[in-house]
């Protein structure tokens, strides 16, 4: 059987989708997380409950929404609720299994920056959109998955601004702050997968996507990346996964 042709972005979306189990509830950010969550729901996880911060609970869109408040999400949702209700009744008490986030910068302890690039908050090099729902997603979901393309610019030793708390400066910081969720447990990129080390919480390469070598990942990471002893290969995308993703993308156009 010959392997199908696919792009690194497609591998990333498919790897992210595979991380979601059927029946889970997932708090979805727009962009890559939304693509992955919608692909999972249309393939191996038909009972995945998608929750968008616009108040759409259990959305079942037939195409990819361009924004978290698209009418399609509201029309297909089990319920449409107010924004205070989303955050106070659903997210804060820990009712959501997985929070799926993107990032502008991510550091080796999984802390996320979506606020400013540059060390001076008052005079930033680049002003980014800001926090949105992410700080509470990072604090309160049972687990957090982060999906973003890997580059030295994005994967930094220490983020310029902690918008959403990951593992702080190492294992134990979340407990000390009283944060109820487990924080980032998985990072999915176009090159591979990373998980926090059980002892130190430092992000460690656990999987390489097909055709990618460790050196390539190291070159795209802004710190001395640790590699798991039992480093594995991500299985190739299946024809079904690829066609599912392409249909979804096509329907979004």
């Amino acid at each position: 059987m010959s392997s199908p042709e696919y792009s690194t972005d497609e591998m990333m979306s498919i790897a992210a989708a595979r991380a979601l189990d059927d029946g889970m509830s997932c708090f979805v950010g727009i962009g890559l997380p939304s693509t992955a969550a919608n692909l999972a729901r249309r393939s191996h996880a038909p009972n995945l409950k998608l929750i968008y911060e616009s108040g759409c609970l259990g959305a079942k869109p037939s195409r990819l929404p361009l924004s978290i408040g698209d009418g399609e999400l509201a029309e297909t949702a089990d319920a449409v609720i107010s924004v205070p209700e989303v955050f106070n009744y659903w997210l804060q008490p820990g009712r959501i299994d997985v929070g799926f986030l993107g990032a502008a910068q991510l550091d080796k302890f999984g802390n996320i920056n979506t606020t400013v690039i540059g060390s001076d908050y008052a005079d930033p090099k680049v002003r980014l959109p800001g926090a949105g729902g992410a700080p509470e997603i990072a604090a309160s979901c049972r687990e957090v998955f982060v999906v973003l393309r890997q580059s030295k610019r994005a994967f930094v030793e220490k983020v310029d601004f902690v918008t959403s708390f990951g593992h702080g400066s190492g294992r134990g910081d979340r407990e000390r702050l009283g944060l109820p969720g487990a924080g980032p447990t998985l990072v999915v990129t176009d090159l591979g997968l990373m998980r926090p080390d059980p002892g130190t919480a430092e992000l460690t390469l656990t999987h390489l996507h097909p055709g990618v070598e460790v050196e390539q990942v190291r070159e795209a990471t802004g710190w001395a990346l640790k590699v798991a002893d039992d480093l594995r290969r991500t299985p190739e995308p299946t024809e079904a996964e690829l066609s599912g993703l392409r249909e979804l993308k096509k329907a979004g156009e």
């Binding site: 616009s54 408040g69 924004v83 955050f87 106070n88 005079d123 930033p124 680049v126 800001g130 959403s164």
Partner: protein, 266 residues
Amino acid sequence: MAEIVSLADGVARLVHDGDTVALEGFTHLIPVAAGQEIIRQGRRGLTLVRMTPDIVYDQLIGAGCASKLIFSWGGNPGVGSLHRFRDAVQHGWPVPLEIEEHSHAGMANRYVAGASGLPFAVLRGYSGTDLAKHTATIKPITCPFTGEQLTAVPALNPDVTIVHAQRADREGNVQLWGIAGVQKEAVLAAKRSLVTVEEVVDELEPRPGALVLPSWAVTAVAEVPSGAKPSYAAGYYDRDNAAYQAWDAVSRDREEFGKWLAEVAA
């Protein structure tokens, strides 16, 4: 009881220079026409409040109406950055813009406290983030019952809140349905409110799930068909995604934006 007014009269009477103004709408029902009327009337020194300042706030900021922005996510949804907002924050153009930055949960709870007549709200969030270091309106608080360390945020009580809705009757009772965001809380938290609607009808048909702001909770209602475009109004028209994408090119360039502004102000 809410008065039925024209958009120009409503803005002239309810929005003053230096006011704290919230135009709310979560992707859906964004009061774009009202924002552009504020630009046309040349308001200055406004403190603009909104969870998700999108292109209408980019327009207000670029037009020099605002001196401060209180917000939680400032972007062009699904497209990218707000370039007028960036220009004001990074280069003080056309006037410097002070920012007060929260998370969505923080903003939503600030409106809830405002609508509830309480001085502050409590949430479990912000811990470990740098937001608390830069925003004076985020403070730690200890639960008097359990001793848990939580976060307090002060109530938001805008001088005026403006929202858009589908329908009102001649008494000024408002029907709003679909994604309701934080509009009800923002209206109830404000000293004055203006609701622009797609249409004013003689009698409101009862509609399941329609959020009704009763006439006595609203200051004024203005009939503004298509008042949310390019955002959308469920039951009336869809979101114009192409317009959001097109805004990127207009706002990226000061000169292009200037041409746009001259047209709107005319």
